[in-house]
Symmetry: C2
Subunit: 209 residues, 2 copies
């Protein structure tokens, strides 16, 4: 993780946020390689030298942005699914919520995708953190008999893969939420993929060990 | 589509292929932005000027590589699944085959991913061509009652999303095929997601219209 530099006063926090927002806009529209620190500071309305009080390089602010995306997505996803009655409902609600999140954060989405070509570790850490937390929820749901058995990490990656492409296809490419027939088919697909097999013995019925 | 330039003799074909292989290696290891035409021609063992007999720019050879990936993947996938008895078996066989393909073509995989940041149309065309052909197979399988009903385009994109992330996670990142417990869970996930709902009326039983 980064050692954070720069002023920690309220005003410092505001400048840091302005730099992050400007970098997101700059990377999202021009791409990382064509982006420049002078253009980021211009967008943020601060002097060019100010950038270096907070970040050492373009790579460092990219890493900070990807970490920011990870935190804000996890937080809003948790809020979105907290009232779900079971794991499958949580998945469906979470999926719909993610589509709206991706639509509002199209630049951030692009920044995360591009990060793999700047520093593969940033991108890999992003998805591994996400998948590990996700797999813990799925493992718990398996233990409760809410979803079908299997390697929870693999189920998590499969669901992330579906969400990633659907986010790319509609929010990022077409700048809209997926139409109803797409959401209906996805709901059906995910529900069928996760619903416990009625023929399989439940956790209580299985012999221990 | 590109207008193809350059010699079409057997020797010309060989040089073109050498340039494509060299570009794939160069983009795959250094990334598109750090790659240079002089380094590509050096890897291919040809004079730098020769490059321009075949491609006008680094962007143009990137597009040619992505089209090449699309063709060779579609061809080998079709071959891999031609003996499958039904669509779900074809999906499982195709999935296993894709993992081996991704492992053998890790550079090409990376080149396709990166193309979206060079020219988003290249990348979008790639996936749209893939998804449309895929959806046609799924629509036919639905009509035959081999898989569950739904928007076939959405089913295609969901399956592509799963394959993409699994290819990224194991062949690209870990340089190996997915372990058995991952393949078992995926097989189960995909089978459950596609298996026709026994409660739904079959195509023959439904009233026409």
């Amino acid at each position: 993780m980064n050692q954070r530099i720069g002023p920690v006063t309220a005003r410092g926090q505001k400048t840091r946020q302005a730099l992050l927002d400007a970098a997101c806009e700059e990377f999202g529209t021009k791409g990382f390689y064509n982006a420049s620190i002078s253009s980021i500071t211009r967008r943020a309305g601060v002097a060019q030298g100010t950038f270096y009080l907070y970040y050492r390089s373009k790579e460092e602010i990219l890493r900070a942005l990807v970490e920011h995306m990870n935190r804000s997505m996890r937080r809003t996803q948790s809020e979105a699914v907290q009232d779900a009655s079971d794991r499958i409902s949580a998945e469906i609600q979470g999926f719909r919520h993610f589509m709206r999140f991706a639509l509002r954060h199209r630049s951030l989405y692009r920044v995360v995708m591009e990060s793999q070509f700047v520093d593969p570790r940033i991108h890999r850490d992003y998805y591994q953190t996400l998948a590990e937390r996700y797999a813990r929820h799925l493992a718990k749901a398996q233990a409760n008999g809410e979803i079908r058995e299997g390697d929870p990490g693999t189920q998590a990656w499969a669901l992330i893969g579906i969400a990633y492409f659907m986010g790319l296809r509609f929010p990022v490419w077409e700048e809209r939420e997926p139409p109803d027939e797409v959401m209906d088919t996805l709901e059906d697909f995910i529900t069928a993929a996760l619903r416990p097999d009625p023929a399989a013995p439940s956790a209580e019925e299985r012999p221990p060990g």
